[in-house]
Amino acid sequence: MSVDIGDYVGLSAVMLCIGLAGVLLRRNPLIVLMSIELMFNAANLALVAFSREWVNNAGHIFVFLVVTVAAAEVAIGLAIVVSVFRRAQNVDVDEVASMRG
Protein backbone atom coordinates (compact mmCIF):
# COMPACT_ATOMS: atom_id res chain seq x y z
CA MET A 1 0.00 0.00 0.00
CA SER A 2 1.30 3.36 -0.90
CA VAL A 3 -0.58 5.33 1.69
CA ASP A 4 1.50 4.94 4.77
CA ILE A 5 0.55 5.77 8.25
CA GLY A 6 2.41 9.03 8.29
CA ASP A 7 -0.09 10.56 5.92
CA TYR A 8 -3.01 9.65 8.15
CA VAL A 9 -1.31 11.01 11.25
CA GLY A 10 -0.38 14.18 9.44
CA LEU A 11 -3.95 14.59 8.37
CA SER A 12 -4.99 14.14 11.97
CA ALA A 13 -2.53 16.81 12.98
CA VAL A 14 -3.97 19.22 10.45
CA MET A 15 -7.47 18.64 11.67
CA LEU A 16 -6.37 19.10 15.25
CA CYS A 17 -4.81 22.45 14.52
CA ILE A 18 -7.81 23.64 12.58
CA GLY A 19 -9.99 22.76 15.53
CA LEU A 20 -7.57 24.52 17.84
CA ALA A 21 -7.70 27.68 15.82
CA GLY A 22 -11.46 27.53 15.88
CA VAL A 23 -11.53 27.31 19.64
CA LEU A 24 -9.28 30.30 20.04
CA LEU A 25 -10.70 32.58 17.43
CA ARG A 26 -14.46 32.14 17.49
CA ARG A 27 -16.73 33.77 20.00
CA ASN A 28 -19.95 31.87 19.44
CA PRO A 29 -20.06 29.12 22.06
CA LEU A 30 -21.67 26.66 19.69
CA ILE A 31 -18.94 27.06 17.12
CA VAL A 32 -16.39 26.59 19.88
CA LEU A 33 -18.00 23.30 20.84
CA MET A 34 -17.99 22.22 17.24
CA SER A 35 -14.29 23.00 17.02
CA ILE A 36 -13.75 20.84 20.07
CA GLU A 37 -15.59 18.05 18.24
CA LEU A 38 -13.20 18.48 15.38
CA MET A 39 -10.29 17.98 17.74
CA PHE A 40 -11.86 14.83 19.13
CA ASN A 41 -12.23 13.45 15.69
CA ALA A 42 -8.69 14.24 14.82
CA ALA A 43 -7.60 12.16 17.76
CA ASN A 44 -9.91 9.39 16.71
CA LEU A 45 -8.38 9.36 13.25
CA ALA A 46 -4.91 9.03 14.64
CA LEU A 47 -6.05 6.21 16.92
CA VAL A 48 -7.66 4.28 14.11
CA ALA A 49 -4.62 4.75 11.92
CA PHE A 50 -2.26 3.35 14.55
CA SER A 51 -4.71 0.58 15.34
CA ARG A 52 -4.55 -0.45 11.71
CA GLU A 53 -0.78 -0.19 11.68
CA TRP A 54 -0.31 -2.58 14.55
CA VAL A 55 -3.45 -4.57 13.79
CA ASN A 56 -4.60 -4.17 17.35
CA ASN A 57 -8.16 -3.97 18.57
CA ALA A 58 -7.46 -1.79 21.50
CA GLY A 59 -7.34 1.30 19.35
CA HIS A 60 -10.86 0.70 18.18
CA ILE A 61 -12.09 0.26 21.71
CA PHE A 62 -10.39 3.48 22.64
CA VAL A 63 -12.12 5.25 19.77
CA PHE A 64 -15.38 3.87 20.98
CA LEU A 65 -14.72 5.32 24.39
CA VAL A 66 -13.74 8.64 22.93
CA VAL A 67 -16.95 8.81 20.98
CA THR A 68 -18.96 8.05 24.07
CA VAL A 69 -17.20 10.58 26.16
CA ALA A 70 -17.45 13.15 23.41
CA ALA A 71 -21.16 12.60 23.25
CA ALA A 72 -21.55 13.02 26.95
CA GLU A 73 -19.38 16.06 26.96
CA VAL A 74 -21.24 17.68 24.12
CA ALA A 75 -24.50 17.03 25.88
CA ILE A 76 -23.40 18.65 29.05
CA GLY A 77 -21.63 21.46 27.24
CA LEU A 78 -24.72 22.31 25.29
CA ALA A 79 -26.80 22.15 28.46
CA ILE A 80 -24.49 24.69 30.00
CA VAL A 81 -24.65 26.88 26.93
CA VAL A 82 -28.38 26.73 27.01
CA SER A 83 -28.67 27.58 30.69
CA VAL A 84 -26.14 30.39 30.48
CA PHE A 85 -27.38 32.07 27.38
CA ARG A 86 -31.08 31.33 27.75
CA ARG A 87 -31.99 34.91 28.36
CA ALA A 88 -28.87 36.72 27.36
CA GLN A 89 -28.80 39.48 24.85
CA ASN A 90 -25.62 38.30 23.23
CA VAL A 91 -24.46 34.79 22.60
CA ASP A 92 -20.82 35.55 23.18
CA VAL A 93 -18.20 33.67 25.08
CA ASP A 94 -16.50 36.92 26.07
CA GLU A 95 -19.56 38.02 27.97
CA VAL A 96 -19.22 35.35 30.64
CA ALA A 97 -16.19 36.95 32.25
CA SER A 98 -17.56 37.45 35.74
CA MET A 99 -14.69 35.43 37.17
CA ARG A 100 -12.21 38.12 36.35
CA GLY A 101 -9.63 39.00 39.00
Binding site: S2, L30, S35, L38, V48, W54, I61, L65, I76, F85
Partner: protein, 205 residues
Protein backbone atom coordinates in the same frame (compact mmCIF):
# COMPACT_ATOMS: atom_id res chain seq x y z
CA UNK B 1 -4.60 6.17 -3.20
CA UNK B 2 -6.23 8.90 -5.15
CA UNK B 3 -9.20 8.24 -2.94
CA UNK B 4 -7.18 9.03 0.11
CA UNK B 5 -6.09 12.39 -1.19
CA UNK B 6 -9.59 13.31 -2.31
CA UNK B 7 -10.97 12.39 1.07
CA UNK B 8 -8.16 14.31 2.76
CA UNK B 9 -8.87 17.48 0.84
CA UNK B 10 -12.57 17.26 1.55
CA UNK B 11 -11.84 16.67 5.20
CA UNK B 12 -9.65 19.72 5.53
CA UNK B 13 -11.92 21.90 3.49
CA UNK B 14 -14.95 21.01 5.52
CA UNK B 15 -13.07 21.60 8.75
CA UNK B 16 -12.00 25.05 7.63
CA UNK B 17 -15.54 25.73 6.48
CA UNK B 18 -16.85 24.74 9.89
CA UNK B 19 -14.76 27.12 11.86
CA UNK B 20 -15.05 30.04 9.57
CA UNK B 21 -18.79 30.48 9.09
CA UNK B 22 -20.74 33.23 10.76
CA UNK B 23 -23.93 31.26 11.05
CA UNK B 24 -23.80 28.17 13.21
CA UNK B 25 -26.16 26.33 10.92
CA UNK B 26 -23.64 26.53 8.11
CA UNK B 27 -21.00 25.31 10.54
CA UNK B 28 -23.17 22.32 11.37
CA UNK B 29 -23.42 21.43 7.74
CA UNK B 30 -19.68 21.66 7.39
CA UNK B 31 -19.29 19.44 10.37
CA UNK B 32 -21.63 16.94 8.82
CA UNK B 33 -19.46 16.74 5.74
CA UNK B 34 -16.44 16.33 7.96
CA UNK B 35 -17.88 13.45 9.88
CA UNK B 36 -19.02 11.58 6.80
CA UNK B 37 -15.63 11.97 5.21
CA UNK B 38 -14.06 10.73 8.36
CA UNK B 39 -16.26 7.65 8.31
CA UNK B 40 -15.05 6.94 4.80
CA UNK B 41 -11.50 7.25 5.97
CA UNK B 42 -12.15 4.79 8.75
CA UNK B 43 -13.38 2.29 6.22
CA UNK B 44 -10.19 2.64 4.23
CA UNK B 45 -8.39 1.77 7.43
CA UNK B 46 -10.22 -1.51 7.84
CA UNK B 47 -12.27 -0.06 10.74
CA UNK B 48 -15.68 -0.66 9.19
CA UNK B 49 -17.57 -0.92 12.44
CA UNK B 50 -16.16 2.35 13.63
CA UNK B 51 -17.10 3.97 10.40
CA UNK B 52 -20.70 3.05 11.01
CA UNK B 53 -20.47 4.12 14.61
CA UNK B 54 -19.14 7.43 13.42
CA UNK B 55 -22.10 8.01 11.16
CA UNK B 56 -24.74 6.83 13.57
CA UNK B 57 -23.54 8.48 16.73
CA UNK B 58 -21.68 11.51 15.58
CA UNK B 59 -23.81 12.66 12.71
CA UNK B 60 -26.98 11.02 13.88
CA UNK B 61 -26.99 12.09 17.49
CA UNK B 62 -24.43 14.71 18.28
CA UNK B 63 -25.01 16.85 15.26
CA UNK B 64 -28.74 16.65 15.80
CA UNK B 65 -28.18 17.83 19.32
CA UNK B 66 -26.32 20.80 17.96
CA UNK B 67 -29.12 21.59 15.59
CA UNK B 68 -31.71 21.45 18.32
CA UNK B 69 -29.72 23.71 20.58
CA UNK B 70 -29.32 26.21 17.78
CA UNK B 71 -33.02 26.15 17.34
CA UNK B 72 -33.58 26.57 21.06
CA UNK B 73 -31.25 29.50 21.33
CA UNK B 74 -32.60 31.20 18.29
CA UNK B 75 -36.13 31.43 19.58
CA UNK B 76 -37.14 34.84 20.81
CA UNK B 77 -33.81 36.54 20.34
CA UNK B 78 -33.34 36.76 16.67
CA UNK B 79 -30.26 36.15 14.67
CA UNK B 80 -27.24 35.33 16.71
CA UNK B 81 -25.67 38.51 17.97
CA UNK B 82 -22.25 38.78 19.40
CA UNK B 83 -21.04 41.51 21.70
CA UNK B 84 -17.93 43.60 21.21
CA UNK B 85 -14.70 41.71 20.75
CA UNK B 86 -12.90 41.89 24.05
CA UNK B 87 -9.76 40.20 22.90
CA UNK B 88 -9.04 41.74 19.53
CA UNK B 89 -5.34 41.02 19.54
CA UNK B 90 -5.61 37.31 20.02
CA UNK B 91 -5.27 36.52 16.33
CA UNK B 92 -1.52 36.64 16.08
CA UNK B 93 -0.65 34.80 19.27
CA UNK B 94 -3.28 32.17 18.56
CA UNK B 95 -2.11 31.49 15.05
CA UNK B 96 1.46 31.54 16.19
CA UNK B 97 0.99 28.96 18.91
CA UNK B 98 -1.13 26.77 16.67
CA UNK B 99 1.52 26.97 14.00
CA UNK B 100 4.21 26.03 16.45
CA UNK B 101 2.23 23.05 17.68
CA UNK B 102 1.48 22.02 14.13
CA UNK B 103 5.07 22.42 13.08
CA UNK B 104 6.39 20.21 15.79
CA UNK B 105 3.73 17.62 15.24
CA UNK B 106 4.61 17.36 11.58
CA UNK B 107 8.25 17.34 12.41
CA UNK B 108 7.83 14.38 14.68
CA UNK B 109 5.63 12.62 12.19
CA UNK B 110 8.25 13.01 9.52
CA UNK B 111 11.21 12.02 11.63
CA UNK B 112 10.01 9.80 14.41
CA UNK B 113 10.68 6.18 13.63
CA UNK B 114 7.72 3.87 14.01
CA UNK B 115 9.18 0.89 15.68
CA UNK B 116 7.15 -2.23 15.03
CA UNK B 117 5.77 -4.12 17.95
CA UNK B 118 7.92 -7.00 19.17
CA UNK B 119 5.51 -9.71 17.97
CA UNK B 120 5.65 -8.32 14.45
CA UNK B 121 9.40 -8.15 14.45
CA UNK B 122 9.47 -11.78 15.49
CA UNK B 123 6.85 -12.86 13.01
CA UNK B 124 6.29 -10.45 10.11
CA UNK B 125 3.54 -12.62 8.73
CA UNK B 126 1.30 -11.62 11.56
CA UNK B 127 1.15 -8.12 10.26
CA UNK B 128 -1.29 -9.06 7.61
CA UNK B 129 -2.63 -12.37 8.86
CA UNK B 130 -5.70 -10.94 10.44
CA UNK B 131 -6.67 -8.67 7.66
CA UNK B 132 -9.33 -9.67 5.25
CA UNK B 133 -12.26 -8.41 3.23
CA UNK B 134 -14.85 -6.32 4.99
CA UNK B 135 -17.88 -8.14 6.15
CA UNK B 136 -16.07 -11.20 7.29
CA UNK B 137 -16.92 -11.49 10.97
CA UNK B 138 -13.50 -12.82 11.98
CA UNK B 139 -11.18 -10.30 10.44
CA UNK B 140 -9.71 -7.30 12.06
CA UNK B 141 -12.08 -4.36 12.35
CA UNK B 142 -15.34 -6.25 11.89
CA UNK B 143 -18.33 -6.13 14.18
CA UNK B 144 -17.58 -9.58 15.48
CA UNK B 145 -13.98 -8.75 16.19
CA UNK B 146 -14.89 -5.56 17.91
CA UNK B 147 -17.66 -7.11 19.95
CA UNK B 148 -15.46 -9.99 21.01
CA UNK B 149 -12.91 -7.53 22.35
CA UNK B 150 -15.48 -5.28 23.94
CA UNK B 151 -17.12 -7.98 25.98
CA UNK B 152 -14.09 -9.96 26.99
CA UNK B 153 -10.80 -8.21 27.32
CA UNK B 154 -12.13 -4.66 27.42
CA UNK B 155 -15.18 -5.19 29.51
CA UNK B 156 -14.34 -2.58 32.08
CA UNK B 157 -14.28 0.33 29.63
CA UNK B 158 -17.62 -0.80 28.38
CA UNK B 159 -19.16 -0.67 31.83
CA UNK B 160 -17.54 2.65 32.45
CA UNK B 161 -19.14 4.10 29.34
CA UNK B 162 -22.50 3.18 30.73
CA UNK B 163 -21.70 5.03 33.86
CA UNK B 164 -20.47 8.03 31.96
CA UNK B 165 -23.64 8.22 29.95
CA UNK B 166 -25.79 8.05 33.02
CA UNK B 167 -23.82 10.85 34.62
CA UNK B 168 -24.23 12.89 31.46
CA UNK B 169 -27.97 12.47 31.46
CA UNK B 170 -28.29 13.47 35.08
CA UNK B 171 -26.03 16.41 34.54
CA UNK B 172 -27.96 17.68 31.59
CA UNK B 173 -31.24 17.47 33.42
CA UNK B 174 -29.80 19.32 36.38
CA UNK B 175 -28.06 22.01 34.41
CA UNK B 176 -30.50 22.78 31.73
CA UNK B 177 -33.69 21.98 33.52
CA UNK B 178 -36.04 24.57 34.95
CA UNK B 179 -34.68 27.07 37.38
CA UNK B 180 -33.84 25.11 40.51
CA UNK B 181 -36.55 25.25 43.17
CA UNK B 182 -34.03 25.37 46.03
CA UNK B 183 -34.76 28.99 46.55
CA UNK B 184 -38.29 28.14 47.43
CA UNK B 185 -37.58 24.94 49.33
CA UNK B 186 -40.00 24.62 52.16
CA UNK B 187 -41.96 27.57 51.09
CA UNK B 188 -44.72 27.26 48.64
CA UNK B 189 -44.11 30.10 46.29
CA UNK B 190 -45.67 30.21 42.89
CA UNK B 191 -43.09 30.42 40.22
CA UNK B 192 -43.11 33.47 38.12
CA UNK B 193 -43.76 33.03 34.44
CA UNK B 194 -40.67 32.63 32.37
CA UNK B 195 -40.68 36.12 30.97
CA UNK B 196 -40.50 37.70 34.41
CA UNK B 197 -37.76 35.67 35.90
CA UNK B 198 -34.36 37.28 36.26
CA UNK B 199 -31.88 36.54 33.50
CA UNK B 200 -29.10 34.17 34.46
CA UNK B 201 -26.56 36.41 32.86
CA UNK B 202 -26.96 40.11 33.27
CA UNK B 203 -27.57 41.90 30.05
CA UNK B 204 -24.89 44.55 29.89
CA UNK B 205 -21.38 44.08 31.18
Amino acid sequence: MIGFYVLAIVLIASAVFTISQKSPVYSVVGLLANFLTLAALYVTLNAEFLGVVQVVIYTGAILMLFVFVIALLSSGIGPFTEGPDRLPRILVPALLSVAVAFGFLIFSVLHAPLTPMPEYVADPARATSELGPAGDPNVFGSVGDFGRALFTTQLLPFEVTAFILMVAVIGVVLIAGDAAPQATRGRHVARKPAAQREPIVKASK
